[in-house]
């Protein structure tokens, strides 16, 4: 078979695929994360001195200027932690088991491939949830936030400094399985 026929057919396959993709993308739009190179501005109020949660429920007592969602600093994340906000770890299982924010749920991106992750059913969609990964060029936390928002979660934050900064600051961590004993 001549080379030219093969090339014509190859082009035809690619053109048909791109057309199908174009139509599909119109009917099923996707979102892309907005990459943040550096952390967001410092909080207007200092974080609580103690990491031990003293206030409940989660959505109270935040400064009026506290963002409704989006990227937050380590200090802002700590403030939410002190208000008992939920935390979600977007890293892989191995990293999570090695150490995570105390009480954080394990919620890697692949858990969304079959629908919603098991951990999501334990969370209130209107309460704050802080998602983190390893900071730096890690994108998983932003990706998980997009998935959570698509599920109806309205107050999703990304701790852009990531777990290494949390750990380095000496904040509360734990190891091994998470809140439901590793079933998440």
């Amino acid at each position: 078979m001549s080379l030219s026929i093969t090339l014509y057919r190859t082009s035809a396959i690619l053109i048909i695929a791109v057309c199908a993709a174009g139509v599909d993308s119109i009917f099923r739009p996707v979102r892309l994360p907005e990459r943040t190179a550096s952390t967001s501005p410092a909080p207007t109020q200092p974080p609580s001195a103690s990491g031990a949660a003293t206030e409940q429920p989660t959505k109270t007592a935040l400064a009026a200027s506290f963002p409704d969602k989006g990227d937050i600093t380590l200090a802002q994340a700590r403030e939410l932690f002190s208000k008992k906000a939920a935390f979600a770890d977007a890293r892989n299982r191995k990293d999570y088991d090695a150490g995570h924010v105390e009480g954080a749920w394990h919620m890697p991106l692949e858990d969304f491939s079959g629908g919603s992750p098991e951990a999501a059913q334990f969370l209130n969609k209107t309460d704050p949830i802080v998602v983190y990964c390893t900071g730096g060029d890690c994108h998983a936390s932003h990706d998980v936030v997009i998935m959570l928002e698509a599920m109806g979660f309205t107050r999703c934050y990304v701790m852009v400094d990531g777990y290494p900064a949390w750990q380095q600051a000496g904040y509360e961590t734990s190891t091994g399985p998470g809140p439901t004993g590793g079933g998440q």
Binding site: A17, A21, P33, L109, D143
Partner: protein, 158 residues
């Protein structure tokens, strides 16, 4: 269709079916949750920051290409063209993976969704080897043709 396939014909036939089936499955998994695959494409960080539309198009175009070309491969229709498409696709994947590894980025493959076999975790050497093997198979089909049980009419190889 050849009446009596050559030795190569009997060899390429199962490879063609296997590869076609694999890519149809991979395309289906990606299209069943395009958002996740769009994240994977974006994570390669090979597109300019303001080219989000290109990332989205690629996120849909790759699985559609896999499904269309994979189906053709299974049927043995336009086999060489489908094999050439996969060769180009796999070459692009390999270049992308090498680029990711050189920049030390942590990128999930997103190739088969939850069914990442045999390579698990972030992109690494395993994915390079896997794609290299598949590229070799695609090139073999491209050179040798569809083999047995194909719709394409190929002159019998002696």
């Amino acid at each position: 269709m050849s009446k009596v396939p050559s030795t190569w014909g009997w060899l390429t036939m199962p490879l063609r079916l296997l590869m076609g089936g694999l890519f149809v499955f991979a395309g289906y998994v990606k299209l069943s949750n395009p958002q996740l695959f769009a994240f994977s494409v974006a994570a390669f960080d090979v597109f300019p920051k303001d080219a989000g539309h290109a990332v989205k198009l690629v996120a849909f175009a790759v699985p559609w290409t896999e499904i269309i070309a994979g189906t053709l491969l299974i049927l043995g229709l336009w086999t060489r063209a489908a094999a050439l498409v996969f060769s180009l696709l796999l070459l692009a994947f390999i270049i992308g993976i090498v680029s990711v590894l050189k920049r030390n980025l942590n990128v999930e493959c997103g190739c088969f969704g939850k069914f990442e076999v045999p390579c698990k975790g972030n992109l690494g050497t395993c994915h390079l080897v896997r794609n290299g093997v598949m590229l070799a198979v695609a090139l073999l089909i491209l050179v040798k043709g569809p083999g047995a049980f194909a719709i394409d009419r190929e002159p019998r190889a002696n």
